[in-house]
């Protein structure tokens, strides 16, 4: 099986801090991969390198065989990689609908002038995009929130809208940075259900960072564990759970064996 996303020998340092060191990772299409690890392990840095926010100091990142190591975030988004952020990054003054429509921007062809005139092609395009956005609204069950400014929504719902905006891109790969952070149990269960449904419905490859081990173990096909910028373990949830190196990284080493 060929990897959809291939990360080969990637390193990134900030000043004296080695955030990610010689990391290699292959993600086959349609997989739900969780990246876990203690704080500062380099998880978010990894996501930031995949979507072009940072460029690695060395190593190579390839999407479907094509090198994207030096691509800008906008180029990588156009190639079908969408993400959500640890601290929600929505336009708080805009409605849910507008935020989602904005997520379609990479697919919009009409230029400024044509859009200004609105009728004809631009209008047709708007309708097509709106249809797609309505699918997502239905999918995420946020019909009652269309016209609400996102800033007025409770935290858990904002996270859901942010997922919606990422989905509006029709991504091949979805990067989720702590999608359940700060949620209560019920919201977490809803979000887990949405992530699984997205994967099932559209076969979207999903890479997520998450701290809730219960969720990670339940929904992941595979789990990769980072510590101090290095991959210390990778495998099925069960394998990772029983890996002594993982236990050590999380709980510290027991002095008496």
């Amino acid at each position: 099986m060929s990897a959809q996303l291939e990360i080969r020998d990637v390193s990134k340092a900030f000043g004296g801090v080695q955030a990610v060191a010689r990391l290699s990772l292959e993600v086959p299409p349609g997989e739900i991969l969780s990246v876990i690890g203690p704080n500062g392990a380099g998880k978010t840095t990894l996501l930031n390198m995949i979507n072009g926010f940072y460029h690695p100091d060395r190593g190579r990142i390839a999407l479907e065989g094509a090198d994207i190591t030096r691509h800008r975030p906008s180029q990588i988004a156009e190639l079908g990689v969408a993400r959500t952020f640890q601290n929600i990054a929505l336009f708080k003054g805009m409605t849910v609908l507008d935020n989602l429509m904005l997520g379609r921007h990479v697919h919009m062809k009409s230029g400024v002038l044509a859009s200004f005139a609105y009728w004809g092609l631009a209008q047709k395009e708007e309708v097509a995009h709106r249809r797609r956005v309505e699918d997502i609204i239905d999918f995420l069950k946020i019909q009652d929130l269309r016209r609400r400014p996102t800033g007025s929504l409770p935290y858990g719902l904002q996270k859901r809208v942010e997922l919606g905006r990422a989905l509006a891109l029709d991504p091949k790969i979805l990067l989720l940075d702590e999608p359940m952070g700060g949620m209560n149990q019920e919201e977490k269960e809803d979000m887990a259900r949405f992530i699984l449904d997205v994967n099932e419905e559209w076969g979207t490859t999903t890479i997520l960072i998450e701290h809730d081990m219960g969720v990670v173990m339940d929904i992941s096909d595979r789990v990769t564990v980072l510590d101090m910028g290095q991959k210390i373990s990778s495998g099925s949830p069960d394998e990772v759970r029983s890996d002594p190196r993982v236990i050590k990284a999380y709980l510290g080493e027991s002095r008496r064996a």
Binding site: E134, Q143, D144, R146, R193, D197, E200, E201
Partner: protein
């Protein structure tokens, strides 16, 4: 052609008579999608044939579970076309209740709205020996479910088309075999005591009832109706199925339960039926919004509200409205009442009904004063939801209107209301004993409600006959009457009045989390949960004032002397209240016996271990200490 006498028969007639006219709409992807009567018939036919292909035969039971969806309505008519029986259930029931109903009704096919509902059937499958097929409407999240007993609605329709090609004339032949006295639907009434009972209603019951309604009230084929009430409630069966079919008007299914308010406004239905709870909620949210508005707007709202109330009081007493007042009222219609009606989605409603339980007089008067033609309807599941209605000119908060033509009402010895009509049900399913208790040899149905006919011929309901009691000194005591007065306060969500065989009346009150929460926030009172908020001294003082206001309208002897704020709302999941929000008094009396005893002792605090049921059916207990307050003066004890 004679008028058809089964629901599927009426559908065929509509497809002939109204053809391309809209029969049902569903809001999906933000747009109202319409189906004409012809489409309605085709879907029902295809689905029925699909059911036939799956082996569904006469007298079998098909259950639907979910929010109001066209397909769930079609499935019910399709089952009936094959001589089967529709059994709608409450979509928010907990597993135990569902298992009871599905088992008791011997349901063989369940049509579920979505994954959430399919999961319920899946979890209970081992306990349901009669269940053979589960059919779902919305396929989302179900792609991974591989069971030979699970299929989509579309797939069943597809099978039906093939089956129809192989068996021409099958649908017609089955449909014609249907008799008006066949059971069309079994509605399970949540019942305030014991297990739910299955009320068997025949085609004749529901069709005759719909026709009686249409003869009494102004119903038109051009009407628009919002189907948002629970499908398991008889009110929805009568309106969204029987009345829509016989009158030929369009039903509209909202996008989701959360969007009902907006959908209501978009649609502007021409007639509305809602239980008191919804009218109370509408008024409460209006009051909250008015309180949050700018001082100028608030002032305008309050002024015009007072004007409207004066006008309504005069009108209700049959007195003339002075020209000056009429002018101000006209201004109010333009600036306040019309816009408010529009915001509530009542702008086009020619009439609106409240039924299912009594509605507070003040709420009733408010809507009428704002130009909503709100009236009372009285009925129960056992009489196909219709006994009496109020004519437009005789609307009032105290009666439930005149018995409809053809419906006989008699008051028995102890004041119990008896009904005889074409709508009286066939009996409780598999409970002949219980049936004989309520339908006597002459065909009178014993409602269990205590009431009387006033001089105008209006029926007045006082309370449940068995709930009417007396204080220790013999003063008659009707708990519901007092509770309804309390519930007019926007801060009080539920109330339980006690006092039978006791020296005075006391009340347990459940606060309304929204309004009291809002009130507390504005006063910078911090709280964490319902329990915490309900036990704040400030909140107790607030409710005490509300009770005093209520007491002022009660006769001295039945005033509330002591009260307590419950640390949790009454919840159908805890069996304290039915899904249609009727108190289950006997159960409450047992569960809260410690409180009731404390009311009549010198205690001013009571330890309470509250058993609660979580939404997934798990049970837990929450210990707490709750203060009992005296209404008059400060707390005298301690």
């Amino acid at each position: 052609m004679a008028e058809p006498d089964t629901l599927p028969g009426v559908l065929l007639r509509n497809a002939e008579r109204y053809g391309g006219k809209t029969a049902i709409r569903e809001k999906d992807r933000g747009i109202w999608q319409s189906y004409a009567w012809r489409d309605y018939r085709d879907h029902v036919r295809d689905f029925a044939l699909g059911l036939a292909a799956l082996g569904f035969t006469r007298d079998e039971k098909l259950s639907v579970i979910g929010d109001n969806r066209p397909r769930l309505y079609w499935a019910q008519i399709a089952a009936q076309a094959l001589g089967g029986v529709a059994v709608p259930v409450y979509q928010d029931s907990i597993a135990k209740e569902l298992a009871y109903v599905w088992n008791h009704a011997e349901v063989s096919v369940i049509v579920a709205e979505d994954q959430e509902q399919v999961d319920k059937a899946l979890a209970l499958r081992a306990e349901l020996p009669a269940l053979r097929h589960v059919i779902y409407d919305d396929p989302r999240g179900l792609a991974g479910y591989r069971f030979d007993w699970l299929r989509s609605f579309t797939e069943v329709e597809e099978r039906g088309r093939r089956f129809g090609a192989e068996h021409p004339g099958y649908f017609q032949a089955e449909l014609i075999r249907g008799q008006p006295d066949d059971v069309a639907t079994i509605c399970y009434t949540s019942g305030t005591t014991g297990d739910p009972k299955g009320v068997m209603l025949t085609h004749r019951n529901v069709i005759e009832t719909a026709r009686t309604f249409a003869r009494t009230e102004d119903v038109r084929p051009t009407d628009e109706w919002l189907s948002y009430l629970p499908m398991a409630w008889i009110g929805d069966s009568i309106y969204s199925l029987a009345l829509s079919l016989t009158a030929g008007f369009a039903c509209n299914c909202p996008e989701s339960p959360e969007t009902v308010q907006r959908d209501l406004r978009e649609l502007g239905p021409t007639s509305v039926l809602a239980p008191p709870r919804i009218w109370e909620n509408m008024l409460t949210s209006l009051q909250v919004r008015a309180a949050d508005a700018t001082p100028l707007k608030r002032w305008i709202f309050e002024r015009f509200r007072a004007v409207a109330e004066r006008v309504e009081t005069l009108r209700a007493d049959g007195q003339p409205v002075p020209p000056g007042l009429r002018l101000v009222y006209g201004l109010g219609e333009f600036f306040v009442y019309g816009p408010v009606r529009d915001q509530l989605g009542l702008g086009r409603a020619r009439w609106a009904y409240t039924g299912g339980a009594p509605l507070g007089a003040e709420t009733f008067r408010f809507f009428r004063s704002f130009g909503v033609n709100l009236k009372q309807v009285y009925g129960s599941t056992e009489v196909s939801a219709l006994v009496s209605l109020q004519p437009d000119t005789e609307a009032n908060p105290t009666t439930v209107g005149r018995p409809c033509p053809g419906i006989e009402v008699r008051i028995a010895d102890k004041g119990e209301v008896l009904i005889r009509s074409a709508g009286v049900f066939r009996g409780y399913f598999k409970a002949e004993e219980a049936t004989r208790e309520v339908i006597d040899a002459e065909g009178w149905f014993h409602t269990g409600d205590a009431g009387f006919l006033d001089p105008r011929g209006h029926l007045v309901i006082i309370d449940r006959a068995k709930d009417v009691g007396a204080l220790a000194d013999g003063t008659p005591f009707a708990p519901q009457f007092i509770e309804n007065k309390l519930k007019f306060s926007p801060y009080i969500r539920e109330a339980v009045a006690v006092g039978h065989d006791r020296p005075y009346v006391a009340a347990m009150v459940a606060i309304d989390l929204n309004t009291v929460g809002n009130w507390a926030e504005r006063r910078s009172i911090a709280y964490t949960s319902y329990m915490d908020l309900s036990q704040k001294p400030e909140v107790r003082a607030l409710i005490r004032e509300e009770i005093r206001t209520c007491n002022a309208t009660l006769p001295e002897s039945t005033r509330i002397r002591r009260f307590l704020l419950l640390p949790k709302d009454l919840d159908p999941d805890d069996a304290e209240i039915t899904r249609t929000r009727k108190l289950r008094r006997r159960f409450i009396a047992e569960k809260y016996a410690a409180i009731i005893d404390a009311f009549y002792s010198s205690q001013d605090e009571v330890a309470l271990v509250t058993a609660i049921t979580y939404e997934d059916g798990r049970r837990g207990t929450v210990p707490s200490r709750v203060r009992i307050e005296d209404v008059e003066g400060a707390a005298v004890h301690g």
